[in-house]
Symmetry: C2
Subunit: 185 residues, 2 copies
């Protein structure tokens, strides 16, 4: 149980959200392997029992951070692709933009070996992947002749994921024109 | 200065190499932001003064790990591409294979913000990039019509880097056929 003061100071859901934000910031600073539930509680200004209460252990917390990342990435990809004349380009841009503005979430979303089991993670991760598959299906020329659609999806996922990774680490410049040219090719 | 016992127990260069190997293993385990010179010295079985003596500080050590990574990645790309009928495919395969077998080095090679200044890093990093550019130049159809070669290089680098990253984290299966199909498209 959490101290009474904590339960009354936060509305339902707010403490969980505050912990997820603190965790993402901490992951960005020290990396996903070096975070501790205790330092996240300290950062969020709550008792050290709060993270364990909400997420069980570190793998559970990281899974929740990743699930929330996929949920919001998916939301921004849907918003970008809807009514876009180039949905695949729009999704690629949204993917890179998400990585740039959410580096803590992005650092754990594609690290399945670090994540505990979490139904939200499965739902939101699958939904994000589905956006990419749908955008490929409506884009002429995205698939090489006679190729299995899963290979096309793996190729385009590799392309946007590599681009996002190289841009957020500063290996490639964060230049919107370059990003568009890379994604359009 | 290092203790006399250490200087005599290692041939010239061997202590440095042992420290780089210990650092790569430690980076793979806890992430590049969480390593300490002290724990690397402990892992290599040498005095805690040894890493500072050889590399100055953590940024210097990480730069040396990255430089050694680029040197060896470049070596394996040259070996793979020489006399290959498909040099670009050969280089892509070598890049992914290097990431799989050298996860500690790979985790710092593309993190310029973590790395101290190091002439070897510049030389070997530029040489590895040059391999990719040369392979593109001799591959028909690699460049989209009239496109700047630096855009093609950024696109193919993003593709192989994303593929390597997703394979080593288990997001995509480590399946040689899939890797070839992704790289060939």
């Amino acid at each position: 149980m959490l101290p009474m003061a904590e339960r009354s100071a936060y509305h339902h859901g707010d403490l969980r959200r505050a912990l997820l934000q603190a965790a993402a910031a901490e992951i960005h600073e020290v990396g996903p392997s070096a975070i501790s539930l205790r330092s996240i509680a300290r950062r969020a200004g709550v008792s050290h029992a709060a993270p364990a209460h909400h997420f069980g252990d570190r793998a559970g917390l990281l899974a929740a951070v990743a699930a929330e990342g996929f949920r919001r990435m998916n939301e921004s990809m849907v918003a970008a692709a809807t009514d876009s004349p180039e949905p695949l380009l729009a999704i690629g841009r949204a993917y890179v933009a998400f990585a740039r503005t959410n580096p803590g979430e992005f650092a754990v979303m594609f690290r399945p070996e670090l994540l505990g089991s979490d139904p939200d993670l499965e739902v939101h991760g699958a939904a994000a992947h589905q956006r990419l598959v749908e955008a490929i299906a409506v884009t002429p020329g995205a698939t090489c002749n006679g190729e299995d659609p899963s290979v096309t999806a793996a190729r385009l996922w590799s392309l946007v994921h590599g681009l996002a990774t190289l841009v957020i680490t500063g290996s490639l410049p964060a230049d919107d024109d370059l990003i568009d040219q890379v994604l359009r090719g």
